[in-house]
Symmetry: C2
Subunit: 420 residues, 2 copies
């Protein structure tokens, strides 16, 4: 019998304990041994909980318990779980974590520390979707050319509502908060930070890239308006918050941002709170993995799949390789990212403005692909919406600064990236 201890018995932890009990028959048939949740750790012991396992408020009661075979870490945070996971590993216990922040900061130290002791994390990325398994195992014959992921259900829910129902950003954020899809302070989700942690985990498995969230380009969905949505529809795009990883020569682009993508691409069809990750391998071509990115039972499904794999003895090295994976690949500096852009400007509605804007872009080597001019309620101001051909991020940033200095450009300039 295999005994599990759970650090953090909240929504996911409760689901883990319940599923281990309620689906014990099939889990034992698959794992080859029975698995039970023995004990868990919570912050507040006086709070009533719907689980029948031993509870403690001291994590060491789990981490140092000689009867516990596998420690499941669902606490959240970075430094406290890091210390506890280290302790569990040094006690020879296998570890399963759903903690994306822990991995975004410490995955390479943890791989080193774990050595041959299993340390698994399927639930850390895209909830119930077995994307870690697909990358570590199913696509192991491939150099990964690129990945695009919808890995934050809050943003996808909001964008779907903005696009399908014409909702305004503020109204839909309020609704998402009422439904429990967004936090009171929504920055971690809508700012793209949550997705960045998941992207970094996938990038480690695919490329061996060691980067932290502060090293990569992260933007959110806060500045998207119905004007942008209408433009996207007109030109055949959906708008999604994507985590993107792309191999370009010996560099790897890693970035999270609102993205215009062709309506006919599979990932554009993923609506609501659902998540999906598209992976393009040099041999297999395009594959996509779709499912729920959050929720107690869905996340617990991924946690338990790791537990079953550990019990089966099928864990392999944590990141899917021991050394030297794509070792010549380096994180590409943000400024070097090459893509197409969408820009939205408010300009004085007078002759010569268009020439001035396009010649400013031209100075930075940027040419226009498609353009739309719209009147506004204020007759003296027009909206200029356009997409550009490919250029470097640095060119675009300089061009935006220069455009902002033009007397005819009024107010803020909004920008979105395009992936075809």
């Amino acid at each position: 019998m295999v005994k599990i201890g759970i650090l953090g018995v909240g929504t996911v932890g409760t689901s883990v304990a319940k599923i281990l009990q309620e689906n014990a028959d099939i889990i034992e048939a698959r794992a080859g041994r029975s698995i039970i949740a023995k004990s868990g750790v919570v912050k507040n012991l006086s709070k009533k909980r719907d689980v029948s396992i031993l509870l403690s408020d001291n994590p060491l009661d789990v981490v140092n318990d000689p009867e516990i075979d596998i420690v499941v870490e669902l606490m959240g945070g970075v430094e406290e779980p890091y210390q506890l996971v280290k302790q569990a590993l040094s006690n020879g216990k296998a570890v399963v974590t759903a903690n994306k922040a822990l991995l975004a900061y410490h995955r390479y130290e943890l791989q080193e520390l774990a050595g041959d002791t299993p340390l698994m994390y399927e639930a850390s990325t895209a909830g119930g979707i077995p994307i870690i398994g697909a990358l570590r195992t199913g696509l192991s014959a491939n150099h990964v050319e690129s990945m695009q992921g919808i890995m934050n259900g809050t943003c996808n829910y909001m964008l779907t509502k903005m696009i399908n129902e014409g909702a305004q950003y503020d109204a839909i954020l309020k609704e998402a908060q009422e439904l429990g899809y967004a936090e009171a302070d929504p920055t971690f989700d809508v700012g793209g930070f949550d997705a960045s942690h998941k992207l970094l985990i996938l990038a480690s498995i695919a490329y061996g890239i060691d980067a932290k969230p502060e090293d990569i380009l992260i933007e959110g969905i806060e500045n998207i308006t119905q004007t942008d949505v209408a433009f996207a529809k007109e030109f055949g795009y959906e708008i999604k918050l994507l985590g993107i990883a792309k191999k370009v020569g010996e560099g790897v682009e890693l970035r999270v941002h609102a993205t215009m993508i062709p309506q006919e691409s599979m990932i554009a069809k993923v609506d609501g709170v659902m998540n999906a990750v598209t992976v393009i391998g040099d041999r297999v071509g395009e594959t996509m993995y779709y499912g729920p990115g959050a929720g107690g039972d869905a996340t617990a499904s991924a946690v338990i799949s790791d537990i079953v794999d550990i019990v089966r003895g099928n864990h392999g090295p944590m990141l899917g390789y021991k050394k030297g994976l794509e070792s010549r690949l380096k994180l590409l500096p943000k400024e070097e990212i090459v893509t197409q852009y969408y820009l939205r400007l408010e300009v004085a509605d007078q002759s010569g403005v268009l020439a001035e804007v396009t010649s400013t872009l031209g100075e930075f080597g940027i040419s226009i692909e498609a353009m739309l001019q719209k009147p506004t309620a204020d007759e003296s101001i027009a909206k200029l919406l356009f997409t550009t051909h490919k250029c470097k991020e640095s060119q675009m940033q300089e061009a935006i600064t220069a455009l902002g200095r033009l007397a005819v450009v009024q107010g803020e300039i909004a920008m979105m990236r395009i992936e075809k």
Copy 2:
């Protein structure tokens, strides 16, 4: 160094040998050891081939070669590869097969024979999509409630063309044959037999159901017309050839047939030669796996993922469990399947016909959900198209026989099943 022998060096076998060579760096990093294709077996040695491995026309040169660690079986057929795989296993060699027919008939004997020797088959189902891994591993915490798979690219290509471009069945079959997507005798694909083999493999992992192709309901796409396509569009459906597995109480429905499914479902959005499998688990909810279902490199990607897993020591039991998986579940007899139906009849265009048809259906306990009557070029004949509420397959089959006996019903009655 791990040495591979390949039985059948055709398109896929050639890709396996090439990828092992060309992606040797990343495959070694992931597997932890270097892997080389040593030798292969072909029928005709005089045919020129684009691989640099030893070739023989005697399978025993691979199967009995003490230097070969893993035998890759890509021959096709059933009995010859079965004998060779048995021989390889009894020689202690690990086996990787892409042979769906072999598994459709002998997967349980092979699981028994293999014991702890690895026998893997990711490439047998849905080509490059790691669906076997997802079911065996990623969803192991779940009772599988149902699965729906687009697992035959030929049919999906043809149906996509019929729906998006209004192509007629015969014309598009000819085109598919010219493009190499369909065989000269297309029955194995368009008749649903290919998909049935794959469905049986998935059903073994999910439910432990031991059935053979002749035990389950298999229909193809041969009778679909533009009339059906127009009806489907009008009522919000796509038409797909689906392999369907569904747990109903202690029975499991297994069936392959053209199916009307809601346009907004994710699997309805899978177009062209691409494959996809949706799996609904009792805990994770809906997940979907999308990618290329055929092609040398895509299939070889799956074959090599198995090889890497074997080298890592991560193979586990062949079907994902040792014994007792969902042991009370039984294959539901075809007649017991419950679903909604679409019917197309040609009837005499005269008063009272509708009453006669609906009362005949009523005699078998079948009620109508939606209906469309269309004139035909022949003024004396009308087309009656309708969908029914749920009923048993046996009720529907009897009702069709009775409808066929009505004097007002002219010619053949076409039927399609609906899944919502």
